[in-house]
């Protein structure tokens, strides 16, 4: 039995790590969705975080904690810069801005020498351990739990429901949106840093549009009524392709089918908040 568990863990520990990282990414987009903004930039933020953290480790020999912090700060800073002009305006505006931003980031990674261009960065030392991931996830869950019934959480929800009305309530909509976006970028960046330190390798291709959409899918599929939704969504979507391996080359077809079915049967996400109506 223990032997079975051992080999099970050895086989699937990376998968489990990935589940946690994807969970963080799902939370990173949840917070922007919570105020009604659609961001397609979280993959790029993850990329910036991953590169920054990896470079801190590789070039500066920085302690892991510092690398991670840097990996969170830089994307947060970038988010601040693009967030301030774009979030004054509403609608799909942020989606476009972040879509373009993702492209710019990809091109920059490709053309910088320090990032290794298209070849990427390899040999990132494996520093991420289970407890790092659990700790970060724990902190995030605590944060979102606290946020939920606070004035800040309510303000985000109000903005999501009706931005104009929220502004008239005296809620500083722009700064809330920017903050949410920046915090999301920070979380994505830290997730990227953690990810870089257990997959050894980074390349610009990983942080593109497709992954941005995947992250969005985690959140929507899981449900955006509460932060548990994105966590459940990311877990399911990360594990599912592995569970469907036995189907061989048609596993993606089934994966797609399951996605459709879940959305059709649970259009508000897997986890929905019950409100009396």
């Amino acid at each position: 039995m223990t032997e079975f568990l051992m080999s099970f863990w050895q086989t699937y520990n990376t998968l489990f790590y990935t589940v946690l990282v994807h969970g963080m990414l799902a939370l990173s987009i949840y917070i922007t969705l919570a105020c009604g903004q659609l961001s397609l930039g979280n993959a790029a933020f993850m990329g910036i975080g991953a590169y920054t953290a990896a470079l801190f480790t590789l070039k500066l020999n920085a302690p892991f904690g510092l690398s991670l912090l840097a990996g969170g700060m830089l994307p947060a800073f970038v988010a601040l810069i693009i967030g301030v002009p774009t979030l004054r305006l509403s609608g799909v505006y942020l989606a476009m801005a972040t879509l373009g931003f993702g492209e710019v980031v990809r091109v920059v990674f490709l053309n910088m020498s320090i990032t290794g261009g298209s070849v990427g960065l390899n040999g990132v030392p494996p520093k991420t351990e289970l407890w790092h991931l659990l700790l970060v996830m724990g902190v995030l869950i605590y944060f979102f739990l606290k946020l939920k019934n606070s004035r800040f959480g309510r303000a985000l929800e109000a903005i999501r429901e009706d931005e104009v009305a929220a502004a008239v309530m005296g809620i500083k909509t722009t700064s809330f949106k920017v903050w949410a976006f920046v915090i999301g970028a920070f979380i994505a960046g830290v997730a990227g840093g953690l990810n870089a330190h257990f997959t050894f390798f980074l390349s610009p291709r990983e942080y593109g549009f497709d992954f941005a959409v995947d992250i969005l899918t985690f959140a929507i599929l899981g449900g955006t009524g509460t932060f548990w939704g994105p966590l459940v969504g990311s877990t399911i979507l990360t594990i599912l392709p592995e569970m469907l391996r036995f189907l061989g080359s048609y596993r993606l077809a089934l994966n797609g089918l399951i996605l459709v079915l879940v959305v059709v049967y649970l259009p508000n996400g897997i986890i929905t908040v019950k409100k009396k109506d």
Binding site: T86, G100, L110
Partner: protein, 293 residues
């Protein structure tokens, strides 16, 4: 060289426009960013290819069959993945996720059927001769692409603004509930839109497939992502916007390669789109006539 680059941009822009037309139409009416449009586009190209290789069909039948196949696929996607959502309350992005699932499914099955390699239309399918206008060199097909993109735009605008059903589509696009109260068969309008918008995607697929000789299961990917940019830039749901947005992106890409650097093409062109949006937040033709009172 400028004139040739101008022509190149016109062609590329028209390809984007063709793709974006159906894309934006679905968004405008169903309020769904259908991420299956790339897959629909791909199926159109394969269907066109199939009739050409199997039955030696010409350009027009190829386009028609491509449109039919894509139209039916789009209609099925609507029927099975989007329609069930319309009947209930849902997160406004849920249908988009459902279309991702559809895209994954369709692409995966097509890969099983067609494999992963690339195909092309037969060499003698379209005359390869080029025509010269001033210093521009264009093939017949390229001229057709530009013409079709503009013509389709005008036709769709005409239909939407001048015909009873076109207006019904706009009514449904705004508020299905009110449309229903006016006796408009809302469900039929949704399905009709899904079918025709997807058929437009199919036409785009066939033309792109013939012109660029790269038909494969994943051909919808790169253009999807540009398609989104184009429809946001043009103004979500706006038909003129799809074409103008497509042309702008085409010009931005070609001209940044021609006069700046191909290394930074995507950064420059997407950056430019971003700047245009700073000036016109709702897109070029988008308007916010939302009343605040």
């Amino acid at each position: 060289m400028f004139l040739q680059q101008f022509a190149n941009a016109l062609v590329l822009g028209s390809v984007y426009a063709l793709f974006a037309l159906g894309f934006t139409l679905i968004f405008g009416v169903l309020e769904v960013i259908t991420l299956a449009h790339g897959a629909v586009f791909m199926i159109g190209a394969f269907a066109g290819l199939a009739v050409v290789t199997k039955f030696n069909a010409g350009l027009i039948p190829a386009i028609l069959v491509g449109m039919m196949a894509s139209g039916i696929l789009g209609w099925l996607i609507d029927l099975l993945a989007i329609r069930p959502l319309r009947k209930r309350k849902f997160h406004h992005l849920a249908p988009m996720i459902a279309t991702i699932g559809c895209a994954t499914f369709v692409i995966s099955i097509s890969q099983g059927v067609f494999g992963a390699e690339i195909y092309r239309f037969p060499f003698d399918f379209m005359p390869a001769t080029s025509y010269n206008f001033w210093a521009m060199q264009l093939t017949l097909l390229q001229i057709i692409i530009v013409g079709v993109a503009l013509a389709l735009m005008l036709i769709i605008i005409f239909l939407l603004n001048r015909t009873k059903w076109g207006k019904a589509v706009r009514a449904v696009a705004e508020t299905p509930r009110t449309a229903a109260l006016l006796g408009i068969p809302v469900e039929r309008v949704f399905q009709l839109t899904s079918f025709s918008a997807s058929a437009l995607g199919g036409a785009a697929g066939v033309l792109t497939g013939i012109n660029f000789n790269a038909i494969h299961t994943f051909m919808g990917g790169p253009i999807m992502h540009r398609g989104i940019a184009v429809i946001i830039l043009g103004g979500m749901g706006d038909i003129r916007g799809a074409v103008v947005g497509g042309l702008i992106l085409g010009f931005a890409e070609i001209m940044s390669v021609a006069y700046l650097s191909s290394d930074f093409r995507d950064a420059i062109s997407f950056g430019l789109l971003f700047i245009i949006l700073l000036v016109r937040p709702a897109g070029i033709f988008g308007s916010n006539i939302e009343r605040k009172g």
